[in-house]
């Protein structure tokens, strides 16, 4: 039911906000952990923000898969279409 509308650029804005960087600094395929020193707290914050923004429920088990912006996009898409 839920239409997936999460674009890479929307997710980039959210990720930049959580990572406290400018959106331009978040690349599509760069690894959050390597490029922004992202720890588990930041990751779960990102997960929670994305869930709220797109009203999707993403299990915590997906955290290890959310390694980059594109990977995050794939995870959101996977759960959004199930809504």
């Amino acid at each position: 039911m839920t239409q997936i509308t999460a674009t890479l650029d929307e997710l980039r804005e959210i990720a930049a906000d959580v990572l406290e960087v400018e959106p331009e600094e978040v690349s599509d395929d760069g690894l959050f952990a390597e490029e922004h020193d992202t720890d588990s707290l930041r990751a779960i914050e990102l997960l929670a923000r994305v869930e709220k923004r797109y009203k999707v429920d993403i299990p915590q088990q997906e955290l290890p898969n959310m390694v980059s912006l594109r990977a995050l996009h794939d995870v959101v898409a996977k759960y959004a279409v199930r809504g």
Binding site: L41, I44, A48, E51, K52, Q60
Partner: protein
């Protein structure tokens, strides 16, 4: 009438003197909101050894302890709400991170600080808190977002509390 007094709080939070920084709970709306108080006294350990010529500003209650106290109020809300459902957290509640925290005032010996904490949401072993701290109705701290995490015990989600409650009852009282 307070909802929880210190002995009740000590049954929920693992913190103890001198770092148990919530004295009383005024209101508790499970899973949503808590109003908790902490009284500040000149006898607190943070004022030990303070210079006798120290001025009023030197007696401002440390911001770090205000954050900790707010976090403990949030942990109380989180833990107590879980326990009302017969559940326990998969670990000890710990301060994780804070974002958009604004200090607009201070608290001094003699003040009672009042934390209003809302549980914005939980995700597994992480809780998202938001709220304000007031002194006599004036907001002195605004917490945009605070993350509390449950860590330290092996991950055993939604443990049944009854075993633990029984174990606690067996402990001799001090």
């Amino acid at each position: 009438m307070p909802v929880l007094e210190l002995p009740d709080i000590a049954r929920v939070l693992p913190h103890r003197h001198p770092i148990l920084l919530v004295d009383r709970v005024r209101h508790l709306d499970p899973d949503r909101r808590i109003v908790a108080e902490k009284a500040i006294s000149g006898a607190e350990p943070c004022y030990a050894g303070i210079d006798e010529h120290a001025g009023p500003d030197d007696h401002a209650y440390p911001a770090t302890l205000l954050i900790e106290s707010f976090g403990q109020a949030g942990a109380l809300l989180w833990l107590h709400s879980a326990r009302l459902r017969g559940l326990d957290l998969p670990g000890l509640p710990l301060f994780g991170a804070a974002r958009d925290v604004r200090f607009t005032g201070s608290a001094y010996p003699g003040d009672v600080v009042e934390h209003t904490v809302e549980l914005a949401g939980t995700k597994g072993d992480t809780a998202f808190l938001t709220g304000e701290t007031r002194v006599r109705g004036t907001v002195i701290v605004t917490f945009g977002s605070m993350l509390a995490v449950a860590r330290g015990r092996p991950a055993a989600p939604e443990r049944n509390l009854n075993h633990r409650a029984a174990a606690v009852r067996r402990l001799p009282r001090r």
